[in-house]
């Protein structure tokens, strides 16, 4: 069923990183440790991109998520003082969140994963094709009038809005 070659081993290693990192984020008592576990998990995600022959996305993941967003999360954690001792991991409604989590998992499996990759699905056990688009194709697509030039510009508008919003929120209001 599953052949044991280097790619499968790499897949399981990255899956371990992602899941263990995610579990660590949720269950660690120290917020900074949680941020570092998040970095491990994001790193696993970058590994998956490489396995899917999308090295550009892997590098983007490391550069933006780990190099910028994780550092911002660490900065934000340091803005609060009570970060080292979280005494309670569970609140009193933990059973309800457990039910919701299991329900979500079942929903995802039945609604998304099985119809596509299951036995009677659209493309069962489809191997990764050799016909991969390169970063150059992405570049051509981003400015092609028939393809993605509009989302390209909308993305820059979104980034502008994000920056303006962040500055408005974080600005000292008495130095107007």
């Amino acid at each position: 069923m599953l052949e044991l070659n280097a790619q499968t081993i790499a897949f399981f290693v990255f899956a371990l990183f992602s899941l263990a990192g995610a579990v660590g984020v949720v269950s660690s008592k120290n917020l900074i440790h949680g941020a570092l576990y998040l970095i491990v998990s994001l790193f696993g995600g970058a590994g998956f991109f490489v396995l899917l022959s999308a090295p550009f996305m892997a590098v983007v993941q490391v550069l933006v998520y780990i190099g910028a967003i994780a550092i911002l999360i660490i900065f934000a954690v340091m803005l609060t003082r009570s970060m080292t001792n979280m005494t309670e991991l569970f609140n009193r409604q933990w059973w309800m969140s457990g039910i919701v989590g299991i329900l979500l998992f079942v929903l995802l499996t039945i609604g998304v994963i099985l119809p596509v990759w299951g036995e009677n699905g659209i493309n069962p056990s489809q191997p990764v094709s050799d016909n991969v688009a390169t970063t150059e194709d992405l570049g051509v697509a981003l400015v092609d009038g028939n393809q993605y030039v509009l989302p390209f510009q909308v993305a820059s508008l979104l980034l502008t809005a994000a920056m303006i919003g962040a500055i408005v929120l974080a600005r000292d209001t008495d130095t107007e």
Binding site: V128, G139, V140
Partner: protein, 120 residues
């Protein structure tokens, strides 16, 4: 598949190359003296006793620099495929890229004028 094979080198590198800095640390662990006493283990504060909590009052300015960096980082991520394919493209690509960069320069000018970039 060859893309994945290329990255196998990086994967093996990451798995192995941390041994090289860890080796001097391990050698040091074997050879160094261990004489801990309470005074040596104290936190350093220019030779006097520590005053107050260890956590400093965090300046919001660091966070703003990080935010502006994040926005520009994502902009650069969009610009890299554009730059890669630039040689094969025509003036329309230049105009699209120019509009993109112009909108983000707008954001930078806004941040500048609102004194968000001051180390105050």
């Amino acid at each position: 598949m060859s893309v994945v094979n290329e990255w196998a080198f990086i994967g093996v590198f990451m798995a192995l190359a941390w041994v090289l800095p860890a080796a001097p640390l391990a050698i040091s662990w074997i050879f160094r003296p261990r004489r801990p006493n309470a005074i040596k283990m104290q936190t350093y504060e220019c030779g006097v006793e520590t005053v107050g909590d260890t956590w400093v009052q965090f300046k919001v300015q660091y966070y703003i620099y990080g935010l502006v960096f994040l926005v520009f980082d994502v902009e650069l991520i969009f610009l890299f495929p554009w730059a890669m394919a630039y040689n094969q493209l025509d003036f329309f690509a230049f105009a699209a890229g120019l509009l993109f960069i112009f909108l983000l320069t707008d954001a930078l000018i806004y941040a500048w004028k609102k004194n968000a970039l001051e180390w105050a």
